[in-house]
Amino acid sequence: MIKTSTENELIRFLYKESSQNEETEINRALAEDKDLQEDLFSFSAMIEKLNKLTIKAPERAVNKILAYARQSDMESA
């Protein structure tokens, strides 16, 4: 069974926030634990999907913001 501390370290490792020592530790744990290896690959795939997920801002909201910016420029001119 994987320890919670190791599972949390895996998250830091995947998000590239581990120190050199922590990286060495997690690599050692990964070499010995198949469940942890499975988490590494499935979490990594999920993180990649999340990084690509962007919701497009609706045009009408963008146009209203631009109109406000123009108006405030005219007022401050």
């Binding site: 919670t4 501390s5 599972e7 949390n8 895996l10 998250i11 830091r12 998000y15 926030e17 499935s42 979490f43 999920m46 993180i47 999907k49 999340l50 990084n51 690509k52 997920l53 962007t54 919701i55 497009k56 801002a57 609706p58 009408r60 909201a61 963008v62 209203k64 913001i65 631009l66 406000y68 910016a69 123009r70 405030s72 420029d73 401050s76 001119a77």
Partner: protein, 199 residues
């Protein structure tokens, strides 16, 4: 080839000098990330649209009044405004979740229905669309960490400080968010396979 792309900081100083195009470029660069951050917190397309306008209007006012002093860090700054406004709204809606209309229906159900129909018209069964829906179903604490880490680019230590929890709690919430999303995507793909073979 020489990279001539202006930095956010350069665009901001141009905008302060009255160059309107500089603001359009800033908006174009960051609008989707700001919208995504708000939408994933409030979970309502129309409300997210209104709040995005509020965020940028607040930013314009702050810049124009000369109060903006985070040169070169425009994106984290505007994402913080977006997050605060969205969280305030989300909590307000949680306190007062029901607005009953004349016919007795809940206005939030109406909005949710409208939003669903718009979404389903756009892309069906697409992984990213599914993922967007699954993020909305995550418990609030997990969704908050996910949004802060992925869309606001905060480190786990910064998230822990901002949400008054230990770094291990923040990491644990992120881990459970990933586990839940993985489970939901897997369940969905299993259900899809069953339907496929039934046909």
């Amino acid at each position: 080839m020489e990279n001539t792309r202006l930095s956010d900081s350069q665009l901001l100083s141009q905008y302060k000098k009255g160059n309107e195009e500089a603001f359009s470029e800033l908006l174009e660069r960051h609008k989707d990330r700001v919208f995504t951050t708000i939408y994933l917190i409030v979970k309502d397309q129309y409300l997210a649209e209104d709040l995005m306008q509020e965020v940028f209007i607040k930013a314009i006012r702050t810049i124009k009044s000369g109060k903006y002093n985070e040169e070169g860090k425009f994106l984290p700054w505007i994402l913080r405004i977006a997050h605060n406004i969205a969280i305030d709204q989300f909590r307000k809606n949680k306190r007062y979740p029901m607005i009953i209309m004349e016919d007795g229906s809940n206005v939030f159900n109406t909005l949710e229905f409208s939003e669903e129909s718009v979404e389903s018209a756009q892309i069906k069964q697409d992984t990213y669309n599914l993922l967007k829906g699954f993020i909305k179903e995550l418990p609030e604490t997990q969704r908050e960490v996910l949004v802060m880490r992925h869309y606001m680019q905060m480190s786990f230590q910064e998230i822990a400080d901002a949400t008054n929890v230990s770094i291990n709690t923040a990491l644990g919430r992120m881990r459970y968010a990933l586990i839940n999303l993985r489970k939901k995507l897997k369940q969905n793909s299993n259900a899809y396979d069953k339907n496929f073979y039934r046909k």
